[in-house]
Amino acid sequence: MRDSRWHGRLALGLLLAPALLWLGALIVLPHVDLAVLSFRERTGPRVYTPSLAQYKTFFAEPLYWHVFVRTAIMSVIATFLTLLLAFPIAWIIAKLARGRAGSLLFIICLIPFWVSETVRTLGWMILLRESGVLPALLVKLGLTAVPVELLYRDATILVGLVYTSLLFMVVPLVSSLESLDNSLIEAAYDLGAGGFSILRTIVIPHAAPGITAGCIVVFMLTLGNYLTPTLLGGKNSQWFTEQIYTQFITRFNWEQGAAFGFLLLGLSTALVMLGLRASGQRFGDVMRRT
């Protein structure tokens, strides 16, 4: 008996070690360290004192919090647009296309996301820049006299963000809509409900966990995106992750960068919590759906 219990302990220890090493050394400790960094100030060569200076700078400098708020708002808009665009396709995949057609359409929708974001962004740049495909097409159609620059606009950033995020909305939506029994819809219809009231009373309440999961993931990815805003938005993108990069890598001001990082993390966590609260979901359940 004692022997087998000892074996059990050993096995548990062996399984526990990689998990603890991974989470401890790569997630928990680095973030604790980042927190420590953000709460100190350089007062002389290799001399640091605890201080709130980094956070004070953030609030004192309008550029910083302006970019911060802008990033948050744009991310919320992008999330909402993604949901609007993804819902019908998810419905078509889960409910309208039958059998093989449905799964084929699903695979077709997944394919672009196997290709890296860099490649997809390159595509958008070729399409949208002044010398690109769409401006040339607009001139040819006589809609504009000269090619217009379609890059470096807020709308362009949104298009890019929505495009990048679509998959992460479509997948949870499809799985939550697939689990909706058609007979519930038929029953509601049979009891006299129209299309809109079925959507409101049956479909959305049922799909709520999927919608929440999709929105949380998309929001988070959008907020933390770097590639799409900088390439499609250029100098006008004013994305908060750029500020973090600038402080950390360009200016080598790690204390300031760490504070910015924590602010972004806080924003992301706060809005995720808010979303979970609003839809009455639990974090673990939601993440497992994605």
């Binding site: 980042l34 019908p88 309208l96 690109g132 770097y226 992301s268």
Partner: protein
């Protein structure tokens, strides 16, 4: 609405129009990338000047550096492959131990640990990058100051890139493998034990074959995600640049169609990988370029 309920003609038309527009939106960027890889012009932009393979085969003698002569690009592909291979192996091992830990282990704090394992998915990639960068540098500085040890692998470079990517890809591997392990019918294991198999034999002959699809699937996803990662890599990269970072740099400068050529190569490779995996019945679900 679902097929068994009446759908008015306008709704059918609208659905078809939406579907076409959606698929165009999805594939247009990829199509232009592919098409302009063959355009006989110095920049990937219209008009079409004729077909050429220069951007693949060109060398210094033709005045155009094609993909196969661009040693810098080829080198970065090789770098990405090495990084991706390391991340894949690490994630598969840790994903598997984690799956057993979560699905089979019983220990205090399991709930907390399993929630913590999900955390890397909701931390923006940029922040994962900077926190690991800062922490690793501090450990390296400490080792240098107190012990006089020069720990080069903790300075920006490929080992850190591997660790940074692994920090969140491990979560995805864990989720994929534990989802399959959860569905495992434990009576199979009991039957094998009952028939006289040792625990090791049960693992080798029953569990491992059962987990194989999930292991292969998560390995493919890990490899692709590592290959496509940008945000985390950007913060941790040293002298050797992986492909995404290399492409990003060139895209900002306005690059030649050689980027289209390398992108086309990436597209084909990832789609082939995805389709092979689908055919084998895995669950390919690409994840964010965090």
């Amino acid at each position: 609405m679902i097929p068994s309920l009446p759908r008015p003609a306008w709704l059918r038309t609208a659905t078809a129009a939406y579907l076409i527009a959606f698929l165009a939106f999805l594939f247009l960027p990829l199509i232009v990338v592919a098409v302009f890889a063959f355009n006989d012009a110095p920049y990937p932009a219209p008009p079409w000047r004729g077909f050429t393979l220069d951007w693949f085969l060109g060398n210094s003698s033709s005045g155009r550096t094609g993909l196969f002569a661009d040693s810098e690009l080829l080198g970065s592909i090789w770098t990405s492959c090495i990084v991706a291979a390391c991340v894949t192996v690490l994630s598969a091992i840790v994903g598997m131990t984690n799956a057993f830990l979560i699905e089979r282990g019983r220990f205090p704090g399991k709930q907390v640990l399993s929630i913590l394992m999900l955390a890397p998915l909701v931390i923006p990639g940029v922040i994962l990058g900077i926190s690991i960068l800062a922490f690793a540098s501090r450990v390296a500085d400490f080792a240098d100051d107190t012990l006089g040890l020069e720990l080069d692998f903790l300075r920006p470079g490929l080992p850190l890139v591997v660790l940074g990517q692994f920090s969140y890809i491990a979560t995805i591997a864990t989720l994929t493998i534990s989802a399959r392990l959860r569905r495992f019918d434990r009576t199979l294991e009991e039957a094998a034990l009952n028939l006289g198999a040792s625990k090791a034999a049960v693992f080798r002959t029953i569990l491992l074959p059962y987990l194989r699809p999930a292991l292969l699937g998560s390995a493919a996803i890990s490899f692709l995600m590592s290959f496509a990662d940008f945000n985390t890599t950007l913060m941790l990269v040293g002298a050797d640049t992986p492909l995404t970072v290399m492409m990003y740099g060139r895209m900002r400068e306005g690059a030649t169609p050689v980027l289209n050529a390398v992108s086309l190569f990436l597209m084909i490779a990832s789609v082939v990988l995805a389709l092979t995996l689908l055919r084998r019945g895995g669950s390919p679900r690409p994840k964010p370029d965090e």
